[in-house]
Symmetry: C2
Subunit: 377 residues, 2 copies
């Protein structure tokens, strides 16, 4: 293993642990996992359109699946095999992975079962960490549970929680979440904010579904979902009300570093906010929150975007990630190098210089410091 100064940490890397996969396999409505005879991998079905395809296949009988394009996406061994995660890490010289449950987390779990499901998922992650020391994780949270129960679901190796943008169904600017945010802040647990829902499909236009694959919804919808969620939290005053709250934003903040100037301009030029006295001298700007409470991953696939992220929140607040197991290579061996690693690493090295202090910090040093990874390794 590399020396502590040059250790590589992947803070954006997901898993669907086996018990969670079983939960998805037991479901009749989306999200669900379905196995088809003759298909190598089960399929993960999450979109309404995919559910319709599944319905048609069920009606036609399973024999029809041989000639039908199967709905959803393949659940490869990369989704739930710890061995594959280790292989991916070894291939790409990643020392530590801060693993998190992938979307949609517990968003679909009934309130009564949320706490127990969270506990079970987190226990499963904990046992992975024990099996391979140094593989720390972001916990998943039963948001609908009381704060104590919520924290009780979190295991020793956890350093934060992964959270979608829906909260309790009304977004993260929902006042009911303030006690949750306060409990997390008090316990030094960072929130890893991650998108799942994107934007309503009509915004992509009539040609999108047939012709553009998933490009628009993943490349534009996901980052905007994150940006909207954090902008709503900012406008609702969450960062002022919970000044110790620390948030890590997926995909280098969605679009926040690039749009922060425009957000600031729209705030000071908004008649309603000015009349309501919300644009006073004491206001902490978006820029301040970016430098004081927000952390960004470096999953942006370009030097241009990465430099903007660094300019916005500081080189000490950026943390490397891969988004594994998503975006596997399509034209080369899945067991070899992934562009999710090579593009993002090259962006860091181009922006900050190969082997520089800044590069070492973004590639691992910052995560070790901020997430207290030394305590456990």
């Amino acid at each position: 293993m590399a020396s502590s100064g040059s250790r590589v940490v992947d803070i954006h890397t997901h898993m669907y642990p086996p018990a969670y996969v079983q939960l998805l396999e037991s479901r009749q409505t989306i999200p669900l996992i379905r196995r088809f005879a003759g298909a190598k991998d089960p399929r993960y079905i999450i979109l309404p359109a995919e559910a319709e395809s599944l319905e048609k296949i069920s009606q036609a009988g399973e024999a029809a699946t041989a000639t039908t394009q199967l709905p959803g996406r393949p659940v490869t061994s990369h989704y739930s095999s710890l061995q594959q995660k280790i292989h991916f890490m070894d291939t790409h010289k990643i020392d530590i992975s801060v693993i998190s449950l992938a979307n949609p987390w517990l968003d679909f779990v009934a309130e009564a079962e949320a706490a127990e499901t969270a506990r079970s998922v987190n226990r499963e992650f904990e046992s992975m960490c024990l099996e391979h020391p140094g593989r720390l994780f972001f916990a998943t949270l039963p948001l609908s549970a009381p704060a104590e129960e919520l924290l009780a679901a979190i295991e020793f190796h956890c350093r934060g929680v992964i959270l979608g943008t829906s909260g309790l169904g009304k977004g993260l600017d929902d006042k009911r979440l303030i006690p949750v945010f306060k409990a997390l802040a008090k316990n030094g647990l960072m929130i890893f904010l991650h998108p799942h829902y994107g934007l309503p499909s009509e915004v992509w236009g009539p040609r999108a579904t047939e012709e553009y694959g998933h490009v628009l919804s993943l490349a534009l919808g996901f980052p905007l979902e994150t940006t909207i969620a954090v902008a709503r939290m900012y406008l609702a005053g969450v960062f002022d009300e919970v000044p110790d709250l620390k948030m890590l934003l997926a995909h280098s903040g969605g679009t926040l570093p690039f749009l922060a100037g425009r957000i600031e301009s729209c705030i000071v030029h908004d008649g309603h906010l000015v009349r309501e006295g919300k644009v006073g001298a004491n206001r902490r700007t978006v820029w301040q929150v970016l430098k004081e409470q927000i952390y960004l991953d470096a999953v942006i696939y370009s030097e241009v975007g990465l430099k903007a992220a660094i300019d916005a929140s500081g080189v000490d607040r950026l943390m490397f990630g891969t988004d594994h197991p998503f975006f596997p290579p399509l034209t080369s061996d899945e067991q070899g190098e992934w562009e999710s690693m090579t593009w993002n690493k090259a962006a860091v090295e181009k922006a900050l210089g190969e082997g520089s202090q800044g590069t070492l910090a973004v590639m691992g040093g910052n995560a070790i410091e901020v997430l207290r990874l030394k305590e456990d390794a």
Copy 2:
């Protein structure tokens, strides 16, 4: 006037010329302009929610307006007075304004009247240019008219056309627009792509309307609308089919410079696009199109965003703008300095150095070159 090398050009500055205002005043459905007794300025009403407020006021009788918050936004003299535009230019040392009709242009005009309305609006702009030589403009286009009629609507002082994202109602990736784009390219007319519709209101959450003013829709919705439109054109192959097409993107490309890396990654990792053979060796990347066919305004209100825009498309492709008459100062005199000018100018000077070659280029030199403004001044 400053020497040619340091002339300041505002390429993002709008007007609602008097005849267009009259057209809006004659309308019964949105968009419309309505005058209220006792109110200093008429109101510009464009949103469905504002139309409902208007309906209520009409039912209550005009006397009620004194105690009611009027719907929409005030149409100040800055919207349609050429004298105010000149005053704004003088105050901020702007030598040339490339003026364009403001949104929603002709999007609401019936097909049969579109060509004549375009001609009338463009004639009005032309006469402003004749009155104050050097004030060139982006024309407005009757998209539903045949290409010859469309070009006939354009006057001498025009250097391009301003275009919304809806096209003929199905977006700018609509194959029916290819002849329009070809005609514009052939005639050396740049497209100035500008947002108006934003995103569906449900994406802003339940607290937005009451509490966050217009911040989310203007700060996030507008830039994403532009990004979606240009990404759809890219995925539809428009830039390859019309290689001479030149597009100026409002607000520094929406979010394109920041997200270009993610778009590229989503393309090369998209199973559908790879299967369809759309990710071949000959593909021009988003980065190439950004450097070869796209120009960006510098209306981004921050050094962070501006640097990303420059990194993405090059310092020779950025052009200063103000977005006047929108975002007037709310806490200082409207006849004095506007932050839309000072923030954007400061961003350029911070990114490129005060008085540097790069700053001179972005502040005016690029626009003079690219839009051939010397020929007329």
